[in-house]
Structures are given as C-alpha cells and as structure tokens.
C-alpha cells in the first residue's frame, strides 16, 4: 500500500512496579495525504505514535512504511523522507536560529550548501527570517517552537509529524501556523497531534483519534464533525468527547 502506513504496531512501556503498560496495541493506520489532526487525551500515546513514525522509538512488533520504504530495513532513506518535530523542542546552546535550522538539514542528509539555502527558505515560511541571526536559545518558547518547525521543514520531507506544535504559541502565531499548514499540506502527509480540539479548523482535512491504544476514528474532518450531537456549539469537541466516552 502506498503512503505513510503504520502496520500492526504494538508498543509498551515498562513502569516501575507496574510491569509493562501497553501504549499501542496492534495499531494499523494509513495516514493520508493532506493535514491530519491526531486527537487523543493526554497519555493516549499520540507522541509515542509520532515518535515511532519518525523512528525515534522502535515498536515491539509491527512496522511503519512510506511507499516502498520500510522504517526498519531502510531506515536511512526512510528518515530522509520523514520530518519530526518533537513535543519538547530544545535548542542547541549558542547556535543562531539559522545555524540551528541548517544543522537540522545537515542531520537529515542535506549538503552544507543545500542546508544553508534550505534554512533561509524554511525561516521565511515560519516568519522567523528577521530573527535568523539571534541565538535560538534566547527566543521565547513560541518562537523556539517555530524554529523547531523550520527544522522539520528544511529538508522538504514527504511526511511531517508535528507533536503539539501550537502549544506555547500566541493567537497570532497559531493563525500563522494554520496558514502554513494549508500551504505545506497540499502535496504531502502532515500529521499534527493535539489534545486541544479548539485547534481543529478547516486547515485540517482529516481527523484521527487515538484511544485505548488504537485508532478509534479515521476520516474526513466533516465526517468527524458530523458525529457531534445535533446543535453542538463546538462540534469537534463534542464529537471527540462522544467518541472517547462511548456516548452516541
């Protein structure tokens, strides 16, 4: 099957005194082209799912593939085509914003020249070009997340996995981010995890809900909104709550 595919993924964490706790159980999910909101309550395993997609974590069983590439057997090529922005973004001390983003490009296999060029373009996309020569560690939390986003965009990956990218952003920055999503999601797979249903707007074409270790819903935004009880003021939130609480 083509596209970005999680196949039969099982992942558990070992907790002290509690043994193994299953996080994902035989999860299979095809992330479609376009922007998908990955919804789930805190602790549902959204970050784990994205980390596995980025090969930062390896599942106990199952595999992730992107078209013909297997994340285990062709890890280097797979990683080159997948970008990941973790929930906790940390700047390398003393690097400027531009250096930080260029270094991300180099780490993803770009040449030195290409990574510098790509960094400049990525910073324009996240509207940080004016801060390019400032040390990244001196920026605000929201600005640092945009640096992280630029780092994910720099090598023009086919799949973008963004873990809670809007946390810490002010309303203006969130609006800018939604606009950016529309641009970057046109021809690639973008998965954005969030537990804040208020974030879900028309910038997203798809919704996937992670619940009890598996994908409880996977479909178009409109289909998801349609699951909300009639007359809901916040249809996404209502649909989400209905889904995880089992209410009809």
């Amino acid at each position: 099957m083509h596209g970005f595919l999680y196949q039969d993924i099982t992942f558990s964490r070992r907790r002290k005194g509690q043994g193994e706790l299953a996080v994902l159980e035989r999860l299979t999910w095809h992330a479609p082209t376009g922007v998908t909101a990955l919804l789930g309550i805190n602790g549902a395993g959204k970050s784990t799912l994205l980390s596995i997609g980025a090969t930062a974590l390896m599942p106990k069983s199952g595999k992730v593939s992107l078209n013909e590439l297997d994340s285990r057997d062709q890890q280097t090529q797979f990683r080159a085509r997948v970008a990941w922005m973790p929930q906790q973004y940390r700047a390398v001390p003393r690097l400027t914003v531009r250096e930080q983003v260029a270094y991300s490009g180099w780490l993803k296999g770009m040449s030195r020249d290409d990574s510098w060029r790509g960094a400049t373009e990525a910073l324009v996309r996240v509207a940080l070009q004016d801060l390019a020569d400032r040390p990244a560690s001196e920026l605000s939390g929201g600005q640092q997340r945009r640096v992280g986003l630029a780092g994910a965009l720099v090598h023009d990956a086919e799949v973008l996995l963004l873990d809670e990218p809007t946390s810490g952003l002010d309303p203006e920055q969130r609006a800018m981010f939604r606009e950016l999503l529309v641009n970057i999601g046109a021809d690639r797979t973008v998965v954005v995890s969030t537990h804040d249903t208020g974030e879900i707007t028309t910038a997203y074409q798809h919704v996937a809900v992670l619940h009890a270790g598996n994908i409880a819903f996977d479909g178009a935004l409109q289909d998801f909104a349609a699951r909300a009880p009639a007359g809901s003021e916040r249809p996404i939130e209502s649909a989400f709550l209905a889904l995880i609480t089992g209410e009809k």
Binding site: A54, T55, A56, T76, R79, A80, W84, P86, Q88, Y89, R90, A91, V92, P93, R94, L95, E99, Y103, W106, L107, K108, G109
Partner: protein, 419 residues
Amino acid sequence: MLRILPAVWLTLPTLILSILYVTKAIYPNNYGVAATAGATSSMAFLVGFVAMTAAWEAARLRRGGIWEAPHTRSRLDITIIAVTPSILLGAVVLLGTVVDASVYGQAGMPEIRIVAVGFVAICSWSLVGFLAGLRLPMSVSLPSMLLAPFLWFAFVPALPVEWLRHLSGMYRDCCRIGADIAPAALLAGLIMNVTIIVAALYAIGALRMRWSRIAATAMFVTGVMVSSAFAWNVGPIPEIARDPSALRCTEVGGTGLCLWPEHDSPTQLFRPTLTAVIVELARQDLPIPGRWSEELASATSVDTLTLDLWKSDPDSIRWSIAQGLAPWPACSKIPNTSFSDIPIDVLRGWWFTAMGGSEAMLQENLGWLIAEPSAFGVPPIKELYGTVGAASVASRVAWLERLTSLVAECQSPDDYSVQ
C-alpha cells in the same frame, strides 16, 4: 561557526602556553628527536584541552536533543564533525610546538613517528571527551576531562611514548645519539590509543554491534593488556640501537671514524677534532682501537672505541675520547666491591694530555687530584704525565698497558712510575 567553537578560541592560548612550556623544557642542541620529544611532552596538558572542548561539544548536542533524535546522518558522522574542531586544536598546537621546538632547538627535521603517535593520542582523547560530555553533566565532564590526561599519561602501562620518553629522559640527544626509539614502544602507544578510539566509538554508539557495551569493555581491556605487554618488554627506557647504516664513516690513517649525521655537519668540530686526535695518538705510537664509532657500546665489537660525544668544543671532545679509552671496568659494577676510581681518572687525564688537551680542562676535571695527589695515593699528576711523555715509546706503552690491565681487574696500582 568560529564564534561558537571553544576549540577555536582555545587554540591560540594553548599554542602559546605549549610553546612557552617547551621552550623552557628543551635547549638548542641540534637533535631532532630530542626536540620532537620535548615538544610532545606538552601533550599532558594539550590533550586535556582537546578532551575538554570535545566534552563541551557533546554537552551542547545532548542539551539540544540532537543525540537521541532520528537523523539520516549516522552517529559516526555527527561525532566526527563534532570532534573535528577539538582534533584540529590539538593538531595545530602539536605541530606548532614541534616546529617551534625544532627551530628553537636548531634541530632540523622532527621525528615524525612520535608526532604521529601524539596525533593518534589527540584523536583518542577527543573521543573520550566527547563520551564524557554525552554521559556526564558539564560541571563534571569539563573539569574531569581537563585533569584526566595528567593521570592517564602518568600511567606507565598506557605508554604514551612521548610522555614516557620525557619521564625516562630517553631522547636521542648528546648522550643517547646512538639509540633509537624502540618500535615496540611506538606500537604500544599506537595500540593503546587506537583501542581507546574504537572503545569510545562503541561506547558513544557511533559504532554499532550486538552487546556494544560488553564489546567496548572487552576491546578496551584487551587493548590495555596488549599495549602493556609491549610496554613491559621494552622496559623503562624504550630504546634500541640505532640503524648503523646511517653512520658516516671515513678512514683516518687506517682507523675507521664513524659519526652520526647530526655530528657530521661541516660547521661542527667533531670530525676535524677526532681526526686530529687519531693522527696525534698514532704519531706517538700509542695503541688505539681500529674503529671509532658513535654506535651504542652494546652494538660495537671489541676493537671499537665507543664515542659518547656531548659537547662540540675540542677539549670536551678530547675528554669524551679519554673516557672511552679508559672506561669503567665491568667488575666495578659488581655490588660490594671496593674499587677506587682514582686509577681511571689518572688514565683519563693521561690520555687527555696525550691528545693535546688543554691545562684548563685538565684542571677543571681533575683539579682535586692535581691539588692533593698524596691524599689519594698518587704522585703529582702533571709531573707523572711529563715523565711518561718523555719516556721511550716502549716504556710509555708498557706503563699504559700495565695501568689499563690493573684497572680492568679493578685493582689499584701501588706504583704509578714508568718502569
């Protein structure tokens, strides 16, 4: 990038420190190996800076979450790029110090093998520093990496050749020009540092295999053992006799005269003085060995006079020859033997006088014997030398042979007079 790399900023101050240290530690003497060994003696603190800056780089990557993130570049790539500035710092300072030592020591070409082992040591310590930076808080890794090399370089089984040479004084300088550094010592240093490199790469995760930690530990232990075995075999002074093919030999009236190239430049007085001495002793019909050579005594035959030349002025050269012609007898080294060195000094003084050595040098070396000969049971020295010099050739040779054979048996003559 220059702005953010501590290695770049530390290069110049470290180079200045290193040059100051080495300039104090060595003296101009024309010996390339001595200059190189003197230069590499700064390694103990140089590698501290190398390891510390590598630890700094690693700590930055760790704090930036780079190390755990999924990249296309391998950890080996990331490690190499991260430690390169530290290695360059070490290489620039090492080479700068070696060049300084060679110029200051008027020493010509440095000993490349020692520099090569020093460079490998710099690479290994940069990786040790990188590992420490990844695993330890900066407040621990930085100071510990600055200090750890001092402890390591004093750990003799590790055998960092340059440091061991410094400790043992085994330089190819005035006094050991016939010696060469033992290949086993170089190999031991090389093996040890390559072991550290490979073990550190496994521990960092830049090289991967099953049971990496066990493999890294096993490799490290094996490397230390192999290196120590080499170090054990070469002993505290890691030297072998120098290849004699480098000797420059000429014939002087039937006597072979062989000098190392360092002592055979046209501006030096070694060969002209030695030639004049051979001619002079032959003119007096004195028995001299058929070959004079700077090879180590252990590498020469019976009929060879071992030259141990340490100063280039004619009188010092003559005194060196006198010492070679009247060496310490083997029996004098046996414990609990009571052998006085007076007869040896008498003999040396006589040879020196026969060669045309100056009064001043004789006074400098044997002034105590000249001042109070009776206190040491010998006749007035200058009168004795005058008498021997005025005697017939046969009497003079007989006096010399009698005294020499008594000394060879560790006996002191009752009578120094010419028979």
